[in-house]
Structures are given as structure tokens and as C-alpha cells.
């Protein structure tokens, strides 16, 4: 028992010793990310991304001569752990924080940062309500859920589709997107909504729905659900030789879709989605991703870690201009930062802290079953 106690003491003193090992003359930026839990693969990419950006920045002398230090806290992919992580960061005196991925997880930490007066830049949290609370120091570098509906309808319109059928699957995400799209279609006099209904996800046979859709003769079907159903729809449309284009949302952008539908049936399928990291084609993004691949062997698996990188970039830009006081940083991001060249394109923020500017792109499946940026 005595030995056990002493080993505990050693461990504790080690744990306590670690933070003091850092020097005080650095700019501390917090990263709250899902290092463990359901989103762990995203969290690891976020960490790799932000740490590499900081490393490169420090090689160039940091911000105005002061090196940057990234303080990582694990949000465990769940709200309760996120609240603890936020408290830990705040009590360490970190008041500029990047993170996090899941909307519910971010929401649990929002008030803690707000009360501490810290700036928080969320990365993958697309839920609309996060910015409707009007928190003065909350930002995000990802688009909002309702943005996708707007972009989708604008894209369909520009492709020349006028009679639009909207199909969802009754899940919170797909139904929300479908309702956004519906509202957008109804706003535009030139477009007409000819069908709006839900299929039952997880089924195999969608021919009854397809036959009904055929009856209303749409120019295009916009499906807001997920890839297993999108794959089945494509397969069964191909089988019945019905050639109306199907366009999906970003829930239907998994490459398994081509396997389910078959290459022949999937060819020509289009979907609206944030770009995949490999498709970011600005010189800044290309150079950085090359460095990333050189260090980690593979590109990040999704766009969400790249927007975490952008959160770091805008923070660095703000600190360079106005220093590290959270209120100043916040004011700078709200009003002064215009069309900043981020990794994922131009970045500005509106008064609510939402990112302004299009992130969504149109993809098409080519006749070899690959996703190609249009």
C-alpha cells in the first residue's frame, strides 16, 4: 500500500510538473478537439493540422517575434467531457480557443468560454442555433446547415433545372436540409417544387417511390439523405431506365455509394458538398497540403480538419494586427478581416460570427466511378 501511494505521488508530481516546463513568453492558443471517442479520427487530423501550422509559423519567427504554443484538450467527442476541457483551458489562462467538431459538443462549451470572455472558433459545428445565441466572441470557419440548402437550390437553378422534386429521409439532418431547399425554391418564381416527401431509410426497394416520382415528371430529384439510400435510388432508377438526374447533399458523398449503385448507374450523379482536401486548388492550400502529406504520409481525411487549420490562420492574423486581448481579436474578426485567403478559400465573418462566402462545391461521379470536382 505504501509503495502504491508513493508511486501515485510520483505520478502526480510528474503530471503537475509538465505545465510548468513551458516558458511563459509564448502566445497560447487552445485547441479543443475530439482526440478520443466517436470523432477521434477527425480530432487527430485537427490536431495534426493545427500543430503543423503552428510549427511552420514558429519557424518563420512566430507572430511578431513571439512563438505560438498550442494547448490541446480532449473533448472526448461528447458534451460533458467538452465542458471539462473548456474549464481546464480557461483555468490555464488560455483565452483564444479553436474547436470543436460536433455541434452538440461545441454547444456544451460555448457558455464556459463566453463567461471567461474567451474567443472560440468552432470548426465542424454546422448546427444553426450555435450562432443564433448572439455570443459576442463565438465564430466558426465552417458553413451553417441552412447555407447548404441555399447553395443547393442556386446550383440546381444554374444547371437549368426548373421543376424540382425534393426527397428526404425524415432524419433531423436530411429533413432540415430539405425544408431549407423547399423554402428557397418557393422564394424563386422561376422554380417549382413538384414533389416533397420522405422515404424510409434502411429499406431495399424504392421502386414504389420512384414510380410516383416519375408521375410528376421532375427535371431533377434533390435527395438530402445519406449514401446507402442514394445508392439504392440510383441503382433502381438505372434498372428501370429512368434517366432523370439525381443530385445529393453532403450526406450522400461517401465513395461507397458507387459500390452500392454500380459504376454504370452512379455515373453522372452529382452532389453538393464542401470540397475534399485533395481538391483545394489555391496555391496556399496546395503548398500546405504537400507539407502535411510529407509529415503525416496521407492527406487529412475530411475538410473539417482543414477548416480547423483556417481557424488557426485567422486567429494568427488577428493577433498579428491587434495583439492577444480577446475583445480586440473578436472585434478584428468581426469587422476588419475581409476575404482573408484561407486554406479553404476566402474567409470573412458576419456580425453573428458565421463564415461568409461559399464553401460548397459541386461534384460529379465520372464514368469510372470517381468523384470529380465540377
Amino acid at each position: 500500500m505504501k509503495r502504491f501511494l508513493s508511486s501515485i505521488t510520483v505520478l502526480l508530481s510528474l503530471a503537475l510538473a509538465v505545465p510548468t516546463a513551458h516558458s511563459a513568453s509564448t502566445i497560447k492558443i487552445g485547441l479543443m478537439a475530439p482526440i478520443t471517442g466517436a470523432f477521434a479520427s477527425e480530432g487527430k487530423d485537427m490536431r495534426a493540422m493545427v500543430e503543423l501550422l503552428a510549427e511552420e509559423l514558429n519557424k518563420k519567427g512566430g507572430i511578431n517575434g513571439t512563438p505560438v504554443e498550442i494547448v490541446v484538450e480532449d473533448d472526448g467527442s461528447e458534451p460533458r467531457t467538452a465542458a471539462n476541457a473548456a474549464n481546464r483551458l480557461v483555468s490555464k489562462g488560455v483565452n483564444l480557443v479553436i474547436g470543436t467538431y460536433g455541434s452538440a459538443v461545441t454547444e456544451a462549451s460555448q457558455d464556459i468560454y463566453d463567461e471567461a470572455g474567451a474567443v472560440q472558433i468552432a470548426t465542424g459545428s454546422t448546427s444553426v442555433r450555435l450562432t443564433t445565441k448572439k455570443l459576442p466572441n463565438f465564430f466558426r470557419t465552417c458553413p451553417r446547415d441552412d447555407e447548404q440548402g441555399r447553395v443547393a437550390v442556386a446550383t440546381l437553378n444554374s444547371l437549368g433545372f426548373k421543376k424540382i422534386a425534393v426527397l428526404h429521409d425524415n432524419s433531423a439532418y436530411a429533413k432540415g436540409l430539405a425544408q431549407e431547399a423547399k423554402a428557397e425554391i418557393e422564394k424563386d418564381k422561376g422554380l417549382s417544387l413538384v414533389f416533397f416527401d420522405a422515404l424510409q431509410p434502411g429499406e431495399r426497394d424504392y421502386t414504389a417511390i420512384l414510380t410516383k416520382l416519375k408521375g410528376v415528371n421532375p427535371d431533377v430529384i434533390f435527395f438530402t439523405g445519406y449514401y446507402p439510400e442514394a445508392g439504392m435510388l440510383l441503382r433502381q432508377m438505372h434498372e428501370s431506365k429512368w434517366k432523370v438526374p439525381l443530385v445529393g447533399g453532403d450526406g450522400a458523398n461517401n465513395i461507397d455509394l458507387v459500390k452500392i449503385a454500380g459504376v454504370e448507374a452512379a455515373a453522372g450523379y452529382r452532389f453538393i458538398s464542401p470540397p475534399m482536401p485533395g481538391d483545394l486548388n489555391t496555391p496556399i492550400a496546395k503548398n500546405f497540403l504537400e507539407a502535411y502529406i510529407a509529415k503525416h504520409g496521407a492527406p487529412p481525411s475530411s475538410i473539417w480538419s482543414v477548416v480547423a487549420g483556417d481557424a488557426f490562420n485567422v486567429l494568427a492574423e488577428a493577433i498579428k494586427n491587434v495583439g492577444t486581448k480577446p475583445a480586440d481579436v473578436s472585434a478584428f474578426l468581426h469587422t476588419k478581416l475581409k476575404d482573408y485567403d484561407g486554406l479553404t478559400g476566402k474567409i470573412s465573418f458576419d456580425a453573428k460570427g458565421d463564415r461568409v462566402g461559399d464553401l460548397y462545391r459541386l461534384y460529379e461521379v465520372d464514368n469510372q466511378g470517381r468523384f470529380v470536382l465540377k
Binding site: Q200, D205, I209, T211, R235, E239, D256, G262
Partner: protein
Amino acid sequence: MEEFLQQLTNGLAVGGIYALIALGYTMVYGVLRLINFAHGDLFTLGAYLGFTLLASFGLSGVIGGLAGAGLLVLMALIFVGLVGVMLERAAYRPLRNSDRLSAVVSALGASIFLQNAMMLLYGARPQVYPVRLLPTASFMLMGVEIPFTRVLLFSSSLALMFLLFWFINRTRVGAAIRAVAIDQGAAKLVGIDVNRIISLVFLIGPALGGAAGVMVGLYYGQITHDMGLNYGLKAFIAAILGGIGNIPGAMLGGLLLGVIEALGTAYFAVGWKDAFAFLVLILILIVRPTGLLGERVADKI
């Protein structure tokens, strides 16, 4: 009219699958008065077995075309049938003389076990049959485009059903099954080995479910570990609709349910498709608890 006919064929194709699965429920119920809740998962097992044979054992290179598909169905039929027999030994026979609720709980347990075992073995992501063995041709009939595979799907489920019907009604073993269904004690007295008959029922019912699983895999391509829940539930409704315990009833109930769903989708709301299926179940239970073709047995449950 054209749309109506198209929906009718859509409904019949789905209904054929429901009917084939419903037979498994109805046979087990007829003999043991037990709802085999694991039946839907035996159906899934059939689908995954076909997938394994094609993908992992490399059979996709060896067999091709219709004969290959038939062989695959046959293999799943035999294997899933054997699993059914083992399931009866492990989960139902020890509870044969205890009250009915224990057997139902055991059936639910078997269902959860099978479903999770398949998830652990094959993963939670959907799997896809690697090749298309079935031809993609189609033909026109009265202005309706009918894929050839649909006809094949429908006619093979009909063929399996009639084979079963003939077996039960025209053979000596079939007569023994009917005897055990009516009175186990009396069947024993006239020299029928009741245990063997029950094993046989657990061979045939799951075998048909397994065959349906491979057929779904071959036709629709995508399979998931939890698809047995939905198909199983619908087939269960079909069995009750036709009169549980009654073989022609299960066939009729399955086809009828498929058609009702398709027409409900066509002429009411798409999102309410499952609601129609359950509404039909409620109406049948209120108006005619024994089902459409069920016998009037006062003390069944």
C-alpha cells in the same frame, strides 16, 4: 392506369419476398405455437452467406449467370436451414415445456445475438454483392417496363412456396408435420417422432428465409446487418394478415402487404408507407383476429 400497373408489379416483387419469409414464421407457429423472432436474422444470415461465398470464397469467378445464382440460393438454403436446426436445439428445445413467455424471450435473445454477431463479423457498414449474376434485361408488358430479374424473383419465390405447399399436403412427412401441428400428444401415440418433426420444421422455415436473403442480396445488391428487423417485421405482419399457422395464408398475406404498401405510397403519402402496413395489422387484429385464411381456433393464444 399505367402507373397503377407499374405500382402493382412493384408491390408484387416486394410481396413475394415478404411471403417467403412469412412462411418461416407461420410454419414454426403452426407446429410450436411460438413466434420465432430470430427468423428475420436468419434471413439476414442468408444474405451475408451469399455475400461471403461470392466475395471471400472467390465463387464470383467460378459461377456466373442464372445457374450460379440458383446454386447460391441452394447453398444458403441448406446452410441457413442447418443453423435453424441448431437454433432450435440451443434456444427453444430446453424451454419446450416451460411457459410461452420464456420461449418468446429466448427468441428475442437469439435475434439480438445473431444480429450483433453479424455486425461483429462483417462490420456495421453496408456490404454490397460483388457481381451482378442476374441479367439486366427488361421487357414491356401493357405499357409497363418490367425488369426480367423481378419476374425471376417473383417466380422463384412462388416456386419455393408451391414446393412447400405440395410437401406439406401430399407427402407422408408432410402429413406427420400436420399431425404434430394439430396435437403433439396424439401424434406421439401413433408413432411420430415429434422431436424430429420439429427439427424438420426448423430446417425448412429458416431455409426459406435464407433463400429469400440471398435473393434480396442478388437483386438489390446492398445488405446490412440490421435489415432482418424490417423485413422480419413486415413478414410477421404478412403472416398474421393471412392467418398465422396457415401456409396459403402466409403467401396471400405477403403478396397483399406488398401491394398495399406500393399502392399506399402511390396514392397517399410516401412517408406513411410503414404506417399503412401497421394500420392493416391493427385492422385485421380487430376485425378478424384469425387472419384472412386462418381457422377459427378459440384457444390459440
